[in-house]
Symmetry: C2
Subunit: 439 residues, 2 copies
């Protein structure tokens, strides 16, 4: 019976905007694979019960019967989490105008405590979790501490949207530079997406398989560290450092004051790091709605790389439309427990790192990545913010002693690193490392 093998997936905030963009991706087999039947449980709070019912109607009307084995739309946590094998936590308390950051963190800590308890009580012991609700890494701390039976390595938060934004901007800029260099300038287009129809050159546009070494480290906040120091593009048959492709090298650096460029209208062009950090606000400002489509897309990527994809991204240099060929394991930015990380981040936090997805739910820290001086410095500031948030959470939950790193972390990384250095030390020791080609 199909129901016996269906994957049990719970989505909280099921009536929200991100869920609305994510559900069709799940229901068309784009997250867990076309061969995996899914039993989808949509959870939301009672005031959203009607809206949730509307979503369930639309799911029926979309005839998603090939992948969806069943749908439960409910406000009952027990029903939603019972036997859950994957939990996608979108539901949180949004920041209201005038709200203090501490209040926001406290409100969401309460929600995450409930979610953690529900996981502990009802979910599969091997449930895989991605937290999207903000403050995502700190929410993971609360969640993990209230779901002690769930391995900490199974709990993650989304930094993939930041990662994908950075990849998109890097590809856009690299393609612009390559087109300019070869004399085929594409039509300028609104939003910066290049128009393949313009220009007369025949240079192949770089795609997702033609970039590596991207990482957004740290907190999912303005302190995030979009580190391009190890980025390489696959150009003319070989991996080439980003600074050799993108002529405005200062655009790539993390120190925003190093960058000065003006566009055709005389407006200052943001440096890469600043643009990545400000992207969510830019989309919100333009749409007056948050970036649900790209968030859902990033969640799909995060989960499919982690849980499904058998270490086979498209080989570089192929035309973008060509089928994927075996390649190096997927390395992406992922918010995970810091326990056992080789980058010097203290234990007991959740933080975005470069992570190697090994497929089938396994991952390890991508130990080939080196933290260069500026990235190390900025990461230490972001980690400081994570520690402050952790303190606020402890405060909000009444100093609950359970919100502590476990005495013996179960989730040690795959990297063969002995004693974990402090970040400050690592940052000093590892600075000025050169990008290596086997990243």
């Amino acid at each position: 019976m199909a129901a016996k093998t269906a994957l049990q997936v719970v989505v909280t905030g099921g009536a929200g905007q991100i869920a609305y963009s994510l559900i069709p991706l799940i229901a068309r087999g784009l997250v867990f694979g076309a061969e995996t039947r899914v039993n989808l449980r949509l959870l939301d709070i009672p005031p959203s019960a009607m809206a949730l019912e509307g979503v369930a109607m639309e799911i029926q009307d979309s005839l998603f019967l090939t992948v969806l084995d069943g749908v439960i739309a409910t406000t009952d946590e027990a029903k939603a989490f019972e036997g859950a094998q994957v939990a996608i936590l979108l539901g949180g308390f949004p920041r209201r105008p005038g709200m203090e950051r501490g209040d926001l963190i406290g409100k969401n800590a309460g929600i995450m405590k409930r979610m953690g308890e529900a996981l502990e009580r009802y979910a599969s012991r091997n449930c895989k979790v991605v937290v999207v609700a903000n403050p995502a890494p700190t929410n993971c701390i609360v969640l993990a501490s209230h779901a002690p039976s769930i391995p900490r390595k199974n709990i993650s938060c989304l930094s993939r949207l930041d990662h994908d934004r950075m990849v998109g901007m890097l590809l856009h800029e690299a393609n612009r530079c390559l087109a300019e260099a070869s004399g085929s300038v594409g039509n300028g287009t609104l939003g910066g997406v290049s128009d393949g129809g313009g220009g007369g050159g025949s240079r192949r546009r770089l795609g997702q398989a033609d970039i590596r070494g991207v990482c957004v480290w740290g907190n999912h906040s303005n302190s995030q560290v979009p580190d391009a120091s190890a980025v390489e593009f696959f150009v003319d048959g070989r991996w080439t450092p980003a600074a050799s492709v993108i002529r405005d090298a200062a655009w790539l650096t993390l120190s925003s004051n190093a960058h000065e460029r003006f566009d055709a209208d005389g407006e200052a062009v943001l440096g890469l790091a600043e643009a990545v950090r400000g992207r969510g606000a830019a989309v919100l400002g333009a749409r007056k709605l948050s970036s649900a489509m790209s968030a859902a897309n990033a969640i799909a990527g995060h989960l499919s790389d982690w849980l499904v994809r058998p270490s086979a991204p498209a080989a570089p240099g192929l035309s973008a439309a060509a089928p994927a060929a075996p390649g190096a394991p997927q390395i992406v930015s992922m918010g995970v427990a810091s326990d056992g990380n080789p980058f010097g981040v203290p234990e007991g936090l959740f933080c975005s790192f470069p992570v190697r997805c090994l497929g089938d739910g396994e991952w390890s820290f991508a130990e080939g990545f080196l933290l260069k001086e500026e990235a190390g410095h900025q990461l230490s500031l972001s980690v400081q913010e994570l520690q402050e948030e952790k303190a606020m959470v402890l405060d909000a939950l009444g100093g609950d002693a359970s919100v502590q790193p476990p005495p013996s972390p179960r989730g040690g990384g795959g990297a063969a690193v002995g004693a974990v250095a402090t970040l400050a030390k690592a940052s000093g020791v590892r600075s000025n490392g050169t990008p290596i080609s086997s990243l």
Copy 2:
């Protein structure tokens, strides 16, 4: 160069909600096929330019580079329609509270006149068009009359959402009855989507490949005719009339007063036709937002069946997760020009009919369908409404003589029907036909 072969697709109302759900489907190759590169032009009106820019940002952030060859987000009709090979017209004037139907039709006629002129002036002569903006069939009349170079057979409107809603409800009810009959009652779930995890029986659930004979005829309005008289399910290895599977036979009939059933809470269960007609309002009432997800899904189905799919729906009786096998050509409800239809609908209108999609942009009327007494009667009322709307459009556009059926319709159906009978006559002649198994 890839750009030379990319499909040029324009989406109007590009900053709207349906576009927001549709873009990821296009950009992931789910509409025009994974092998077809797409140059996407998003058009909206100047007040939506910022929002459109936000959407373009999110497209870049979603790394849709495998399928998307380029994206243009613009408020300039010339740029959007230049060389367009597919036009998806979502943009229209929404009905405001207190607005008369005639006003709504007039406002949208003005928009469609512009769209028709843009098609005529800029688009490929073989551009395929689907109109989603309401009143969709009447909008097609205006559009076609202002784009005389575009074959009328290339212009369609969406009735697929109504069709899919009907399919979803029929499958749900059939599965409920089959489960009850075999003693394995699934858990009741919010929104009526069955929960495959419940029940102890081993009966295979019917999927999309296990139903045929569905058609929603007429206008895309409350006068639509969700006709289940020819519906059959593939049960126990053979095609079985719907009334032999669904025990509440009155639920299937078009005359709503024939149906009386009450659910567990004592509330009257709507008959199928009434439920299909009221579904849009039900979703709107529940979500407080229109049914963008399921509309986008229906548009994807409409276009891929029409333009891409090589007549190969999944073979019936296979497990829903099994790969599709060659089968009968896809028959779906589609709003098309009535010219040459074998069902007795007068020429010069656009109307939803059962249509056989032959792939690669070809379709023919599904002449195997018979109009039974009640469906024929209701269709004549819906056609009367279409004629009234046409008159309103003529009025709104100042009696523009060009809004007339062309003297010699280019878009005759594929059915080998001689003289086209009037609907009244056809309805009489064809009534009481029995469903035939080769539908």
